[in-house]
């Protein structure tokens, strides 16, 4: 299954080297992120507060993996995605994407936000075309691709509608279509379904998983970093769940989820299996137990005040 023959590996192939694991696509090495907050809001004299958003983050992610980052709000999940997108540079340590520091813009990345970030003056189709424009596609190819993507996310017939005319669920679908349209090999998903009602959410999860598992472009699955605060969603979708804790943002648990694939068609039932519940329960204690016990004083430690 993992027999990726690369040029020049013929010699090594003879000896089953223990270090035969391919280099990770993504690695976070001793990453620490500090934000300076220019504090004027408190009424007290202007103080420079420092906020430790991420502390000692070490993660390696292989290409093709579907990784979920789970954690309460404020534990630095978005910051990690922003680092991969090249929007934020770590204060300490390094982030490597394909062996190099991420740079903006990276045409091989699709980034989907919790808020749809659709351009309201563009129709659904023109929104999906946007990333294709920056990638130099021709008018006709853009149009065809956008229509194909909108159909894929179940929005056939809605191509010429504006954001205003679409429900929240449809807006996220358009955003999903826009993210997938240029066929990026790395998907950064920041709570993409968090704003949706339970039923729409399940539908879109299945839809997204089907697209990903169907492996459209043949050779290799896209790498997915899926941020969520919903543990169930993380376990349902991902190959690997990384649990994060806030104040300061750090990694508490990193677990492989060995539920069978493909799961897209089974999402509804999967939630009620014992396997799923065992995994979720274990992770839940890690996630919520820590917050319950020491969340309160840890919160104070996270923000250090320098007068």
């Amino acid at each position: 299954m993992t027999s990726r023959t690369e040029a020049g590996t013929a010699v090594q192939a003879a000896t089953p080297a223990p270090a035969a694991r391919p280099a990770p696509l993504i690695s976070f090495r001793d990453v620490r992120q500090v934000f300076r907050l220019s504090g004027k809001g408190d009424g007290s004299a202007a103080r420079n507060r420092e906020l430790v958003a991420l502390q000692d983050v070490n993660v390696d992610i292989q290409a093709g993996q579907f990784v979920a980052l789970v954690g309460a709000s404020g534990c630095g999940k978005t910051t990690m995605l922003n680092m991969l997108a090249g929007l934020v540079e770590p204060t300490h340590g390094e982030v490597l994407l394909d062996g190099r520091a991420p740079r903006l813009p990276n045409m091989d990345i699709g980034y989907m936000f919790a808020r749809d970030a659709l351009l309201p003056w563009r129709t659904a189709r023109k929104n999906v075309e946007l990333p294709l424009e920056t990638r130099g596609w021709g008018r006709k190819e853009r149009r065809e691709r956008a229509e194909e993507m909108l159909e894929l996310v179940g929005l056939k017939g809605r191509e010429s509608q504006y954001r205003l005319q679409l429900s929240q669920g449809m807006r996220q679908r358009v955003a999903l279509a826009r993210t997938l349209a240029p066929d990026p090999s790395l998907l950064l998903m920041d709570e993409p379904f968090a704003a949706l009602d339970a039923r729409t959410k399940l539908t879109l999860q299945a839809e997204f998983l089907r697209i990903w598992e169907n492996n459209q472009n043949g050779d290799r699955r896209k790498t997915v970093i899926f941020v969520t605060h919903d543990l169930q969603e993380a376990v349902l979708l991902a190959d690997r769940v990384i649990v994060m804790l806030p104040h300061p943002g750090r990694i508490a648990e990193d677990r492989v989820i060995d539920l069978p694939r493909p799961r897209a068609e089974l999402l509804g039932e999967l939630q009620f299996t014992k396997e799923f519940q065992d995994i979720t329960h274990g992770l839940f204690e890690r996630l919520e137990g820590a917050i319950g016990d020491r969340g309160a004083d840890a919160a104070k430690q996270g923000e250090t005040t320098t007068p």
């Binding site: 045409m107 980034y111 351009l119 990333p131 509804g268």
Partner: protein
């Protein structure tokens, strides 16, 4: 395999707001109906005009100073189509048009530059608010002294109002572009001209449009005020002339004319806005 396969192939769902539209509307009370409201408006206008007319006829107020509606009507019919009136209308209208175009184009461009360039804004930005707070009418005598009794002095005064309002307006329109959209645009790979053209400008359009609508009224104000201070012609000059010779009804006729101009232009703005901003959420 069972329920999930159905929900997983989504059919376009009707938007949520459709539901409320289906609910049978509660029958409005008669004073909430449109017919009543329009009738009430007309009655109030008619009552005001009748009261004015009666007060003037019975000399409760001095007809010399307050005129009366029938007199205003006669003045409108006789004066407005006259050659003198048309010449004034042309002088004023021309000046307003020119100053609106010059002021709004230059003001908007300046505002965009200020909004986009921290350096330019650092240098020139701080002047904007103080200059904008000078009552520009007070500069009319100055401009007239510099440029004489010409169209230029009217236009300069009006532009000095329009320019600064629109510069501030366009600058804040650029600054208030949604941060999420900007992040998305940068990740997608938009840069410089494309970023400006595809994201910044379109999102600034609604604010800039509101600014334009407002500044048309100010252009009219600036030109008429400048004419009132001194000019060889124009509606402002006519108002001064007819007031000082106690032809109050003619003054009112001119005021009605100015009001109609403002209303018609506003109506055109509405029309264009509805065309241009179909996508806008209210």
């Amino acid at each position: 395999m069972t329920t999930i396969t159905e929900t997983a192939r989504p059919v376009p769902q009707p938007a949520a707001q459709d539901k409320s539209a289906e609910r049978p509307a509660k029958r409005p009370k008669f004073w909430q109906t449109r017919a009543f409201i329009i009738t009430a408006r007309l009655v109030i206008c008619a009552a005001f005009l009748v009261l004015w007319e009666v007060a003037s006829r019975r000399e409760w107020v001095d007809p010399m100073l307050f005129g009366n509606p029938t007199g205003v009507w006669t003045a409108m019919v006789e004066y407005l189509p006259s050659e003198r009136s048309l010449a004034s209308l042309e002088a004023t209208g021309g000046a307003v048009g020119v100053s609106f175009v010059i002021g709004s184009v230059s003001g908007t461009l300046a505002g965009l530059v200020l909004g986009l360039s921290p350096v330019v804004n650092g240098v020139f930005g701080p002047f904007l608010a103080p200059i904008n707070s000078v009552p520009r009418i007070a500069l009319a005598p100055l401009f007239i002294a510099w440029f004489g009794l010409t169209m230029t002095s009217k236009v300069v005064l009006a532009v000095s109002i329009v320019f600064f309002i629109l510069a501030e307006n366009a600058r804040s329109a650029v600054w208030s572009v949604d941060a999420d959209l900007m992040t998305m645009a940068r990740v997608v790979g938009l840069k410089r001209a494309a970023l400006l053209w595809k994201v910044v400008l379109p999102s600034a359009v609604p604010t800039m449009f509101a600014g334009l609508r407002l500044t048309f009224t100010y252009a009219l104000l600036g030109v008429v005020a400048s004419e009132m201070v001194a000019a060889t012609g124009g509606l402002g000059q006519d108002i001064v002339l007819y007031s000082s010779s106690y032809q109050i009804n003619t003054v009112f006729a001119i005021l009605v004319e100015l009001m109609v101009i403002a209303v018609v232009v506003n109506w055109i703005f509405n029309l264009v806005e509805r065309r241009l901003l179909v996508w806008q959420e209210t």
